[in-house]
């Protein structure tokens, strides 16, 4: 999503006098000190969290020796493992649907001019700028109303479940996928499609043989973002999951509200490791572009 440097900026920077980059000034020094402190601020808590997932201390706030016990306990905790499986299931399914819907929408918005395009644009960007809690209560009210309606019409009683969570996750992920895929469509050389068409490929073939492979990094980038958003989402998951269905962030929240435990430190460390893996993946996909 974020590129380190645009090519234009790179050439401009090369033109900048070399003197300026290496010059040591008071303001430059102040800036460096400031940046180092901010990086410390960003990473110290994370480092402490990881460290204290290996402590023997049963309260998880003191270093009393190394152990892997908490990780072992984690994997023996069926409730947490169940929640992890649920979370992955929700993330995979919602990512798949959101990626397909988002890619189609991005194609429509980037390639066609049509009436109501601005309205569609606004509708797509709204989920990004609306506070998540508003979306969560709206979906909660909607599902309650829909369930009442279904009971009235068919006599069937539905409850909030993983399905309602998946629907909610798709509703906000689609917008993020659209944003990422649109960027890669913008950087796309449309003459390649014209060339393929001139050489006799039909619309279907042009898409699958030319367009799709070229925007694939964008699609994967969007999918990775949707996957992360779903894994990390807590608010919509809290409001839309039913009493019997537990998701990992909700479980962690319920535990954390009570006290710090080394077990939570351990699960947090694992979630952190997963996030880092996903950023690395998404960055390397974008690099290839």
């Amino acid at each position: 999503m974020i590129e380190a440097t645009s090519p234009a900026a790179q050439s401009r920077r090369a033109a900048r006098p070399a003197l300026e980059q290496g010059r040591l000034t008071w303001s430059g020094l102040a800036l460096t000190v400031c940046a180092v402190l901010i990086y410390l601020f960003l990473y110290m808590p994370i480092a402490i969290l990881v460290l204290f997932s290996f402590t023997r201390d049963q309260f998880g706030v003191r270093w009393t020796g190394f152990t892997l016990d908490w990780y072992a306990r984690l994997f023996a905790n069926e409730r947490l493992m169940g929640a992890t499986v649920n979370t992955l299931y929700v993330a995979l399914l919602s990512t798949f649907v959101a990626t397909v819907l988002g890619t189609l929408l991005a194609m429509a918005l980037e390639r066609y001019r049509f009436r109501g395009r601005t309205t569609v644009d606004t509708l797509i960007y709204l989920p990004i700028v609306i506070p998540e809690i508003v979306m969560a209560v709206a979906l909660l009210a909607f599902s309650a109303l829909a369930f009442d309606l279904i009971r009235l019409l068919t006599g069937e009683t539905l409850r909030r479940s993983l399905t309602t969570v998946i629907i909610g996750h798709i509703a906000f992920s689609v917008s993020f996928v659209v944003v990422v895929v649109r960027t890669s469509l913008k950087n796309f050389d449309r003459r390649l499609e014209e060339a393929a068409a001139d050489l006799g490929a039909n619309g279907w073939n042009v898409f699958w043989r030319v367009t799709f492979p070229l925007i694939l990094p964008g699609i994967i980038g969007g999918a990775l973002l949707a996957f992360t958003l779903s894994l990390d989402d807590f608010i919509i998951s809290l409001f839309l999951s039913g009493p019997g269905t537990s998701l990992l962030p909700v479980e962690v929240y319920n535990k954390v509200r009570r006290a710090v435990t080394p077990e939570i430190n351990a699960i947090s460390t694992l979630m952190l490791a997963l996030s880092i893996t996903l950023v690395v993946l998404s960055q390397s996909v974008q690099r290839r572009r």
């Binding site: 790179q10 309260f59 189609l104 066609y112 709206a138 629907i167």
Partner: protein, 291 residues
């Protein structure tokens, strides 16, 4: 004639493709995003029944409660205040950091930017939780104080802890858009300003800051929006001692017995009103830059 028919056929096919591309995603967003928002807008004008059921009777009562009863007014003002504070502090930390990253040689820049991206992609809950370990009564800071023979401090469950957690959580969202704006900024303009006799400070205020304003505005919006709706940080680090809008909405929908969805919906709508004003300001700031 034949050409005309061919053109018509091509147009028809194009319209069909467009419809196929738009329909699934749009339907989803209308059904599961727009319609739910309309429902809570309607609910916000309805009456709450004795068992927390919706009574379909029109009332302004929820909004009147919201703007007259001190518990709600205070939550409203408190939420706006802490969101403004969080945004300003994130800006004061985020701008220098983004500037620092942009000024590094390319290889370093990638690494430093990556270090901002990691928290951006990391679970918010986990990052907030990390502060509990540090601030708790038996936590890291108090252990250190104890070791030095100093009395312990009550750090967790304070409003200061809430502010700290919010700044910590949202900082990456401020840095990334400012970085993007600074990356596009032509630094030779600063030299031009210096050549023309402007001091460094003046060049910053008159050239660099105005030209990177879209990034500042985008970052501020990205920080402000989640902050005004938050309830997790004030619960985990603030100890739920004082109520913010998010805490009240969550309670009215999920925890109260009986729940009060109409009032909760009205609060959500009132929150959207603040954001609407904010976004209008945002568009003013960014379009002025284009001129």
């Amino acid at each position: 004639m034949a050409l005309n028919a061919l053109e018509r056929e091509r147009q028809r096919r194009e319209r069909r493709t467009l419809a196929a591309l738009l329909t699934p995603g749009l339907l989803w967003l209308i059904l599961f995003f727009a319609l739910p928002l309309v429902i809570i807008l309607v609910y916000s004008f309805m009456t709450n029944g004795p068992r927390g059921n919706i009574v379909w009777q029109f009332t302004f009562g929820n909004y009147i409660d919201l703007f007259t009863r001190s518990i709600y007014v205070n939550a409203y003002l408190r939420s706006i205040w802490i969101s403004v504070l969080t945004t300003v502090i994130c800006l004061l930390l985020g701008y220098p950091l983004a500037l620092f990253i942009v000024r590094q040689p390319p290889r370093w820049r990638t690494v430093l930017l990556f270090l901002v991206l990691i928290p951006f992609w990391t679970n918010f809950l986990v990052r907030i939780y990390a502060w509990q370990i540090i601030l708790a009564n038996n936590g890291l800071i108090n252990s250190l104080l104890n070791g030095l023979g100093l009395p312990p401090l009550a750090l967790l469950n304070t409003e200061g802890a809430t502010l700290l957690g919010l700044v910590y959580g949202e900082l990456p969202f401020m840095v990334l858009p400012i970085y993007a704006a600074l990356d596009r900024f032509d630094f030779t303009l600063m030299e031009a300003a210096a050549d023309l006799g402007a001091s460094k400070r003046r060049a910053f205020w008159r050239v660099m800051l105005p030209m990177t304003m879209p990034g500042v505005a985008a970052g501020s919006v990205l920080v402000f929006i989640p902050t005004i709706g938050q309830f997790v940080v004030s619960e985990l680090l603030g100890g739920a001692k004082v109520d913010y809008l998010g805490n009240l909405i969550q309670r009215l929908f999920l925890r109260s017995n009986p729940p009060n969805w109409p009032l909760g919906s009205a609060m959500a709508m009132a929150m959207m009103l603040v954001l609407l004003i904010l976004i209008l300001i945002y568009f003013r700031v960014t379009t002025e830059e284009d001129r």
